[in-house]
Symmetry: C2
Subunit: 351 residues, 2 copies
Amino acid sequence: MASFHPLVASRVHLSPLLPTPAAAAAASFHRRRFSAIVAAATAPTTTEFDFKTYMGERAVAVNRALDAAVPAGEPPAALHDAMRYALLAGGKRVRPALCLAACSVAGGREAWAMPPAAAVEMVHTMSLVHDDLPCMDDDDLRRGKPTCHVVYGEPIAVLAGDALLSLAFKHMADVDSYPADVDTDKHAARVVRAIGELARCIGSEGLVAGQVVDLEMTGSTETVPLDRLEYIHLHKTAALLEASVVIGAIIGGGSDEQIERLRKYARSIGLLFQVVDDILDVTKSSEELGKTAGKDLASDKTTYPKLLGLEKSREFAEKLLCDAKEQLADFDKEKAAPLLYLANYIAYRQN
Amino acid sequence: MASFHPLVASRVHLSPLLPTPAAAAAASFHRRRFSAIVAAATAPTTTEFDFKTYMGERAVAVNRALDAAVPAGEPPAALHDAMRYALLAGGKRVRPALCLAACSVAGGREAWAMPPAAAVEMVHTMSLVHDDLPCMDDDDLRRGKPTCHVVYGEPIAVLAGDALLSLAFKHMADVDSYPADVDTDKHAARVVRAIGELARCIGSEGLVAGQVVDLEMTGSTETVPLDRLEYIHLHKTAALLEASVVIGAIIGGGSDEQIERLRKYARSIGLLFQVVDDILDVTKSSEELGKTAGKDLASDKTTYPKLLGLEKSREFAEKLLCDAKEQLADFDKEKAAPLLYLANYIAYRQN
């Protein structure tokens, strides 16, 4: 069996995600820096893991579930159209993939986690729709397209967000959403626990809290201290990534100890996700990002690059990636491969 | 045992809720009209039921649960303050009372249903906060106080609504919210089913759908047909009242047949609630209602009085009250008393 270096596979399979020469150069720079860490980290030693195919297949399956969950053309048509517009606008489906992968690594069948995987994407979409509103971040562009309120108006955008949020819970609670081979005796208790995790990550302990503190900081003249910045990101970004992983692990039947290790993994990649987002905002164009670039800079928003500088921000990202991978060490290597690659992907993504 | 007429008790115990002579006259008019129906309907034949004390005690318990569910002063303070402002602004707690009463009539202990009872009030509050927004109904007054966005601003009002919605599910899913004597083997499955009911009544099959169609109709020059008006009310108002009752019945361990009978009861009182609301809007002052009166008329909104006239609207209310009471006939009379009185209360309330 050939010795395997995950970043070789990353380079091979992620290459279509790195289209511009500048991006490729940046990625190569990252790879060199990261290589020492990654060599020491857990890596699948069996067949080469095809991350691009893995993500592509999951995105197709998740999109199918999302498409089926929101009926096209049914009344009220404007509401369903707006929900579908926001939900099916593309996106890499990172959160659902994390949920599915965590279910598998915790010992479950991946299909068991499809309903919660769709649910976390609904919650993510809802938070984007509401955060983009004129009274919030006032963003006109999202995933390269006009935002929901630009197309459907503010009232429908608010209501589509509300409907997506409740649909997430409806979808998770619907027994008919799950395959027949779930462990019937334990399934309901797992679903209740998973719903609790999802609900917790949205409100005043999660997404919403992060957005509130973010809004308070925006336009403020004082420099935001690092711990406040971390609070925002842990709530606004990491909380839902954490919930995605933890929910998958719960539905997969993971032990409490496994669930907590995966929670730590998720917290690290959650913060990593935002640090990389901040870096991308100052290093990429709007076209490359599919959303307004340089917005943080223009609005004088505190970001990791602003607070730490670009170099130290990249070092922090390295540390977070390393921390995340450490948590995967004791899991089955083959089953943990998707989570390892997802961590790499979040670190090296270009948009 | 003395023969018992529920409206005699209503007159005694509801009297403090009917403060003005005009209101008393109207109520007396209603009572005469309703008496034939009520005489034929199920009524408790044991001791007189003290509805006012019943509602007062439940409101105190529900307010305590709501107060505990949203920590005062914890960061982010603005968010928690806004949630508490909207949630603890008074209100009659009709939905929680329905939930608790349905749990009891279905055979459970009322305390089992306290977490979902608090949850339905959170959802109700969230829908009020979002519906009041400037981009929606643009209402400045609610329960006699400035609306949430007037006090805390639009962004916090949107986010407080989102946080209340997710808190409802968190609260229902949290096993620690429930008393220790719930039927452990069946509890998780009941909670999952109840969460599904709650989620369904919010989104594109419930509150949100009703609000979307309501917004579409507002300002439209065409006359709204009766079936469209009923669609709005069944979704905007009846759906959550239905969920409140059904969730209570599920948590109480009711049979499928009992749950469906209670669902029918709830649909009737749900529509009744809105018909009475429409009637009150044209017959009461802002001061009496604690919200802007005559708003429907001023905005040329289609209402039952506009479509059917006041007299026919009252007849329709009578029919709905009668339908609701019929569904209670086969339940234990003493346990069903609160639901019977709640139906009367919804029919005869003055604000």
